[in-house]
Symmetry: D2
Subunit: 136 residues, 4 copies
Amino acid sequence: MLEYETRLRVRYAETDQMGVAYYANYIVWMEVGRTELCRSLGIRYRDMEAEEGILLVVAEVHCRYLSPARYDDEIGVSTRIAGANFRMVTFGYEIRHIAEARLLAKGETRHVFCGRDFRPRKLPPKYHAFFGIGVK
Amino acid sequence: MLEYETRLRVRYAETDQMGVAYYANYIVWMEVGRTELCRSLGIRYRDMEAEEGILLVVAEVHCRYLSPARYDDEIGVSTRIAGANFRMVTFGYEIRHIAEARLLAKGETRHVFCGRDFRPRKLPPKYHAFFGIGVK
Amino acid sequence: MLEYETRLRVRYAETDQMGVAYYANYIVWMEVGRTELCRSLGIRYRDMEAEEGILLVVAEVHCRYLSPARYDDEIGVSTRIAGANFRMVTFGYEIRHIAEARLLAKGETRHVFCGRDFRPRKLPPKYHAFFGIGVK
Amino acid sequence: MLEYETRLRVRYAETDQMGVAYYANYIVWMEVGRTELCRSLGIRYRDMEAEEGILLVVAEVHCRYLSPARYDDEIGVSTRIAGANFRMVTFGYEIRHIAEARLLAKGETRHVFCGRDFRPRKLPPKYHAFFGIGVK
């Protein structure tokens, strides 16, 4: 399965007055995970957007928070393609605390392939293999 | 039902290079909605935290994105208590474009009542009515 | 002098583990102040950008922090045009705590008028009066 | 001189509708630079805060923006201690585009050593050498 783990450290900016990482930042880290999964597979998402005009417009996000992360903690974001067809792709994520091997959060995001006009658009064949479409 | 709509404008900071509000900001706007729902009901969430030591630790977030929001759009965040018991509360949200009466997103967040040590803690009785617990 | 105060509340997202508003958020609030100053003067900054292709590209920011702001504090951002010519504009800001009439921060941002290609561009005459250029 | 460069990639979240990194994010990257400078010198800033109760409360920030950064660009943040005494420390930053060896921004932040009560506090001697105080 296509899966890649990228690492980052919790920034001071990402903490809140509870002393832990604010919940919306996990949703940002998912985006970092997607970008790095793409890079690990040989595609830069920014080229897809800039050269092909294909946007991955987010349709849904879900996250379960299991344990808090703190400033300066090293975090691993494991991202995989959980499903894809010509019209949409679902990414799955596991976010964990590296030093303590503790699962912090699990989630998914679902995206619709769109053109620059934000209208749905079929994914061009050259990207099918990348997203695991039509692969048995 | 307990429901309150607060309004805000999409900040330039909240846009991304697609020219629309970045998806994690909806999750922030939900927090703004919760704060203002509490205020409308006569409780400041910050007092609950500072004086009672009760934290609403987020356990789950879900959001479906229906239509994009753009810089300077006026947005309404309708927040309601979708369910609550002694241990947790679920808020529901509808985010809409004021001028166009267009629904932008719908979502829920689920929170566990915790003490300052992040351990679950029963909600003190003085807040039961506020969260609609035990109200028939 | 052209000056306008807009108000906002410190979001939970904007706090950090010190329990106060994180310093980069003041820089965001300055942007909110600029947007609302423009609106108060009858121009939407987003129209300038979308219709005229004029971007206010930031060249410099300076902020002195005098006193901390906390979650849910109501904040006033007073914005004025501190100087302008055909090529650039400087905005000045005072950020204060409404309830306590306490000055929180003072700052300036300097912007170069640019086209969509990020190259400097003379401000069209129709906007001169707006920025106080050529006004005695 | 004490100087350290840390690297990061511009996140999609950090872009705005101009298609470049939003200006307040440079101020966040400075914080990342400070944290990593400290780590490179053998001190974790979070330990200073958690164990010693010493906060580096920001008093001033200044940034000049020279060239824009875009999504997925690799950025280097060079951080140095530009000056320090018992009461305050000034950090200097240069932010550059790695692939193009292009300087993106230069800035400084000034911080006052404070206790948890946000009142100024003399820096304990054990940290003097770290900040280059009293070193000839």
